[in-house]
Amino acid sequence: MAALLTLDEVSRSYGDRVVLHPVSLEVAPGEVVALLGPNGSGKSTLLRIAAGRDLPTSGTVTFDGRRLDEEDLHARARIAVVGDVSATYPDLTVREHLLLVAVSHGVGDEAGAWVDWALADRHLTEKADALPSSLSSGQHQALLLASALVRPRDLLVLDEPEQRLDPDARGRLAERLSAERSDGVSVLLATHHRDLALAVADRAVLLIDGTVVAEGPPAAVLPDVP
């Protein structure tokens, strides 16, 4: 099966500092790939490049057969991103924010239903009319996840989505990611949570100091994670 996302010899440097040595990676449709590694290993940089939020110093990124450009609206409409590259409006309620995301991604008349479903899925229904500033950090993370769920998507890029989630919410996250895979959505996630990687990932990639040091089934790679 042709890969949905292909990173070919992608590297990233900031001045003389190399944060990502040439990395090649493919994500197939409906595949869940977990990026593992200690802090500062280059996971977030790799995710930003994969989501089109940053340009590689060298190498190419291809999404659905087209070279990924930072401003490619087609790609932006099909890649949902959750992480430190996500933000909300301080003056829109949770429901208004989700409707904004849904309608702007072409959901149209169905937007209300999508939003209600995402609110229920992330256990945010009671907070639907609240402003983001009144949410706990876990609820805010759930809102960012819900923002990714109220819109059509072929690829979910998640940077440590388990952050600030309690064990129940982490369990629901794992269920959701498995459901996404079943729906044919590809997932590329960076995580420090071994159980999450083991539960949902088809493949794990271990990054250390910007270099891929291991790749394969999560159970095989996890013992190498420092």
Binding site: R53, P90, T93, L100, V103, S104, G108, D129, L131
Partner: protein
């Protein structure tokens, strides 16, 4: 540290004496501890205090020199001029104008008390001394009293200068006018500072209540009220309007404090004030004194959390102003005031992508209604100035015949000057009205990640933000023409709108000032232009827009070409800035 080295009164666990061993709360031990601790800190920070005092002394020296050269001679000259004015020289409704100004000043004190207040600690003190077991009053009272003294001094001088300005316009005996002005300034400053401290203390112990955070709407409302008073001022010398002046002057401290000044200005005091002003003054002094006493007691009620938050806010606001980031300073102040957008008013989100942008903009304004109020205020000012600016040329252009043509040409030159003098502030006011309505664009620029929430190019998003301000200001301008406001001014404002909206969007997506400019000023062939370059960078968009709109203001034929060019330039510029912000 080993057990052998540890002092005797510290137990093995590292803690101090037990609760039972601590002196009672009202024991003089705590006062002694406080005195010792503060004396020790004072010794430690002596060098820093000297440095700060040196800085303050230098600032005071500069202010004094500037005042001696540019202010004092004029004040003195104005005061020693003989009073040749009859009662007719006093501007109608001067009393109402003075009350309006005092109202705005008092609102300023309350707003200040809602986020900073007169009793404010610096960050190190808030971080280290505040949690220690020393008496908080000893930390706060000197700061509050110093703030009160400084405010009283500044108020007295400000009142004096204002009185001198009024005397130049209205005449009156120098001594009484100056004294009354200084006294009004003193009373208002003392009352305002005390009110600020009471606001600072008022929210303590009540969750969800943070002082005067709900006072944001006050400023535009008071300004609107003052503007309304100014509008009725020409009729304020007789009949119902005179009765209104009497009511306003007796309606509260804003009126009581200025009664002596109003009474000293010839012909401006209504009957009820002319003879009874000592009672008004007495009421104002009594209220200010009572406020000082209450504030002095309330100092103890200000909680540690409030003081810490405010110390942080003051530091962040100071840094933001230094870095020329007024938006960041404003957001910090709003957060410190506990301001959260109200979601009471809602507009159902549309299901059509095309309507999403306008819905977003209108929702942003519903959540920040004070912006709308300010837009109304500035639009009113802009129309008034443009109406005034367009009058003279229209009159001179209508003069017939050759001789009249020559006279008309001279009048035209004079009129052009007058038109620029009044019209340019009119365009600036219109820009300020527009700038209130691009709040959604500012929210995008506050966090560039928000420009990625919608899968739309940043340029298109920026241009989309132009629709609501143009409609929101265009509709009232059209209505104004229909109800009979001089049409040429409103049409000019309408035509100028797109260019000014573009400029407001450029400013919204302005981003941070270049560090080189902040740190080193700007170099030019004539040397370092210093802060001027920074200010020019900051106002460049409205500056360009107003310059390009000057032909329109002056009625030159080239305006037909330049005005659309101005709109095009600023709107394209806004789109470019939005892209730059996204990539920052």
């Amino acid at each position: 540290m080993t057990d052998q080295e540890r002092p005797d009164d510290v137990d093995a666990g590292g803690a101090g004496p037990d609760d039972e061993q601590l002196p009672a709360r009202d024991d003089p031990y705590w006062a002694g501890l406080t005195t010792d601790a503060l004396a020790y800190v004072r010794r430690l920070r002596a060098a820093e205090r000297r440095r700060r005092l040196g800085g303050a002394a230098y600032t005071a020296y500069v202010i004094l020199v500037v005042a001696l050269v540019y202010v004092v001679p004029y004040v003195w000259y104005a005061l020693v001029q003989p009073d040749e004015a009859g009662p007719a020289r006093t501007p109608d409704g001067a009393a109402l104008a003075v009350v309006g100004v005092v109202g705005v000043v008092l609102v300023g004190f309350v707003r200040d008390g809602a986020w900073r207040g007169p009793a404010v600690l610096d960050r190190p003190t808030a971080a280290w001394l505040l949690p220690s077991p020393i008496l908080r009053r000893a930390l706060l009272v000197p700061r509050w009293r110093t703030a009160l003294a400084v405010s009283a001094g500044a108020g007295t001088v400000g009142g004096l200068v204002a009185a001198v300005v009024l005397r130049v316009a209205a005449g009156g005996p120098a001594g009484p006018v100056a004294t009354a002005g200084a006294l009004a300034g003193l009373v208002v400053a003392v009352l305002g500072t005390s009110a600020g401290l009471l606001v600072e203390a008022v929210g303590e112990g009540r969750p969800g209540r943070r002082g005067g955070g709900q006072t944001l709407w006050l400023a535009p409302v008071v300004v609107l009220a003052a503007a309304t008073l100014a509008a009725v001022a020409p009729q304020a010398t007789s009949g119902a309007a005179s009765w209104l002046t009497t009511v306003v002057l007796w309606s509260g401290p804003w009126g009581w404090a200025v009664q002596p000044l109003v009474a000293a200005l010839p012909g401006s005091a209504p009957a009820g004030v002319e003879s009874l002003w000592p009672i008004g003054l007495l009421l104002a002094v009594a209220l200010a004194s009572s406020a000082v006493v209450r504030a002095d007691r309330a100092v103890d009620r200000i909680g540690a959390r409030t003081l810490r938050t405010r110390a942080d806010s003051v530091a962040v606001v100071g840094a933001s102003i230094t870095m020329l980031q007024p938006r960041r300073a404003r957001l910090t102040v709003l957060a410190a005031q506990g301001h959260a957008p109200s979601t009471r008013l809602r507009l159902r989100p549309p299901r059509q992508r095309l309507l999403l942008g306008p819905w977003r903009d209108v929702t942003a304004l519903l959540r920040a209604p004070s912006r709308v109020l300010w837009a109304v205020v500035w639009l009113g000012v802009a129309v008034a100035l443009l109406v005034a600016a367009l009058g003279p040329v229209a009159a001179s252009a209508s003069a017939p015949g050759d001789v009249a043509q020559q006279a008309g040409a001279t009048a035209q030159r004079v009129a052009v000057g007058e038109r620029l003098l009044v019209g340019v502030p009119g365009l600036v006011a219109l820009y300020l009205a527009v700038a209130q309505l691009v709040e959604a664009a500012r929210l995008d620029a506050d966090d560039p990640r928000r420009l990625r929430i919608r899968p739309i190019a940043a340029t298109r998003q920026a241009l989309g933000h132009a629709v609501v301000p143009i409609v929101a200001l265009g509709v009232p301008l059209v209505l104004a023409v229909l109800v009979g406001v001089p049409g040429s001014a409103c049409v000019m404002a309408l035509v100028a709108l797109p260019a000014l909206v573009g400029a407001a969007l450029v400013s919204a997506y302005r981003g941070d000032a270049p560090l080189a400019l902040v740190a080193g000023g700007g170099s030019s062939p004539m040397g370092d232009v210093g802060p001027g370059a920074l200010v020019a960078w900051y106002v460049r968009a409205p500056l360009v827009a107003v310059i390009l709109l000057l032909p329109l203001l002056l009625g030159w034929s080239v305006a037909g070409t330049l005005t659309p060019v101005a709109a095009l330039v600023t709107l394209v510029w806004a789109g470019t800035r939005a892209e730059a912000v996204l990539r920052s």
